[in-house]
């Protein structure tokens, strides 16, 4: 029983980090159709902002989260205004352009901060473990889980209960008609992209105490997060949530049976097969015309 719980919690922990990174990607891909390969770089920028705030300004991780969100969101906003807005009708080219932007971002960071690994300290309040149902768990991982749940609720609220969310949904349904009603679609897209980038930045800041911070760290995250979004389908937020935890549990389980590498490879194969047979995602409802 302990073992099952242990596995379950490991999967939940992997899943919550996946979801954290995938949430911003889902918003940008799911609502705007932009495949943002620079998403991993936003994660990296968030981690570096955390590092700068900690090592230069001696600000703890908790206090810097809000700052990090706005810094990275601002960078995302610049990227959208500067490049991505020209590519909304060329989805294949957005892959290339955003990847190019990713390369540029990585190089700028490497030139400014150096290529060596950096470390961000975990808040001392959370740097211990606790026992739940007889299973030993890191408090920091539980904290991440809670934050993800909070961000999820916030995103849902923004999309469904605020004026800006309603405008976004209107633009998604019909951009031209929405524009006729006086909605500034350009502004909505820019804000959405910035929000997605900000979420990625938060993800980077939150994972930075668990892993080392390097200019290349984003690449691994973007591939995984992308698979989550593809698996979940772009239609619903719930699909992304389910697929993140499904992938988390699956990876944790196969990793127990085989090893991490085989687990990743098998999950990827499963996703390839899924795209072939259900390109709309595992959890998509019936597609409306």
């Amino acid at each position: 029983m302990d073992f099952v719980l242990q596995q379950l919690f490991t999967g939940l922990s992997i899943g919550s980090i996946l979801l954290l990174v995938a949430l911003g990607l889902w918003i940008v891909y799911g609502t705007m159709g932009v495949i943002n390969l620079a998403h991993g770089e936003f994660v990296m920028l968030g981690a570096y902002t955390a590092w700068v705030l900690q090592s230069v300004f001696q600000v703890g991780l908790f206090a810097s989260l809000v700052v990090i969100f706005f810094v990275v969101a601002f960078l995302g906003w610049i990227m959208e205004r500067g490049v991505i807005r020209y590519l909304y009708r060329r989805p294949l080219d957005t892959i290339l352009a955003t990847w190019g932007l990713g390369v540029i971002t990585q190089q700028v960071v490497r030139l400014l901060a150096g290529g060596e690994l950096r470390y961000v300290e975990m808040p001392s309040l959370l740097a211990h473990s606790t026992t739940i149902l007889g299973v030993e768990l890191s408090v920091y991982r539980i904290f991440i889980f809670v934050v993800v749940a909070g961000l999820l609720a916030l995103t849902w609220y923004l999309m469904q209960r605020t004026a800006i969310g309603m405008k976004l949904r209107a633009v998604l349904q019909d951009r031209e008609v929405a524009s006729c009603f006086g909605i500034n679609a350009d502004r909505i897209y820019a804000l959405t992209f910035a929000y997605g980038a900000g979420l990625a930045g938060l993800a980077g800041a939150l994972v930075s105490p668990l892993k080392s911070v390097s200019p290349e760290m984003g690449t691994t995250y973007v591939v995984d997060a992308f698979m989550v979004v593809v698996l979940g389908g772009v239609e619903t937020l719930m699909g992304t949530v389910l697929s993140a935890f499904l992938l988390g549990e699956l990876t944790g389980f196969i990793a127990y049976l085989q090893n991490d590498t085989v687990a990743k490879a098998l999950v990827l194969v499963a996703i390839i097969v899924l795209i072939r047979f259900r390109p709309q995602g595992l959890f998509a409802s019936q597609v409306r015309a």
Partner: protein, 383 residues
Amino acid sequence: MSASTTHNPGHRRTWLQIAIYGAVCLTIFLVPTILDNDFLLNKYSRYLVFGILAIALSLSWGYCGILNLGQAASFGLGCYCMAMALKLRTVPVHTGDDGLPDFMVWNNVTELPWFWVPFHSLPFALFAGIAVPTVLAALVGWFMFRARITGVYVAIITLASLVVVNLLIIDQQRYTGGFNGITDLAQLELFGLTFDAYSRNSYYLVASVLAACLFAALAITKSKTGLILQAIRDHEDRVRYFGYDVAHYKIFAFSASAAIAGIAGMLYTIVMEFASPTFLDVPLSLSVVIWCAVGGRQSLLGAALGAIVVTGTQGALSDSGIFLQSWTLLMGMIFVASVLFLPKGLAGLAELAGERLRRLGRDTPPPVKTDVLGPVREGEGLA
């Protein structure tokens, strides 16, 4: 006959193209006559290998619209096939009875695995270096294109396949050498010639293969099949309405491109003298896309030159860290700019310049429509 070829503008274009391609190949062949430095020749051979890899991507992406982000998988499999053959040709020092590769001994493998055995034969290895990537690509292509998977999803599936192959090679350390790859290889001996990585022989080998691939790919694009491939790129559904089996043609383009990439991979092992999982990792695969985009994906020669120039500059600057960093930064910017404004890359610019020059000579009015900037205008309506 000759009169008709000169009067038909299409044929004239083709002859001009062949002349330019030939001139570039000749220049590449002449490099060793003025350059007597084996170290530099080795470097240049590496860039030429990347040129071949770019030709492969140009064939599938530029001519058939298949954005293959997993090109490095074909390349890497070619690398490993060659490396396995050359590894078995080394003189084993403290290894098992039948010349077991050293890393297998370290991993407590007692007997040569079955899939290594045929690599004792060099012709088999040369065949496998082309056949393995081709068959794999044909399978993935069949899997994707029969289901009419297009665009973005092709990019995702090919990228994911690449990661799977890469992970498996790293994971099966007992049989593939894992992270370290396959090192300490023998030199290739073929037709009585020895291909030392630091020698003219290897350079000429790579240059000849580059020329052969360039002209073979050109022949494909000029054939009827090539025209259908381009039609599929421009309007897939319309080609389907005409009764062509689109999937069939796409699988062909995808596998032909993999075959060329496999050949490039084999050459890369000869030039580098080892095979490593970094030869089939995601960054390399995406770099190929950059080379093609900068050089011009819709021009085989443009793509090849793009690869040679980009990697060449990278190599020249690699002694100085800060310059290399700045160059990569600049490359990223040029890449983004070329995606935004120059979908045909530098080759498109050259073509445009040639067109202008010719019209100037003939004193005719300039063209009304230049499609080099076409797709961008379409997007600007949104801004």
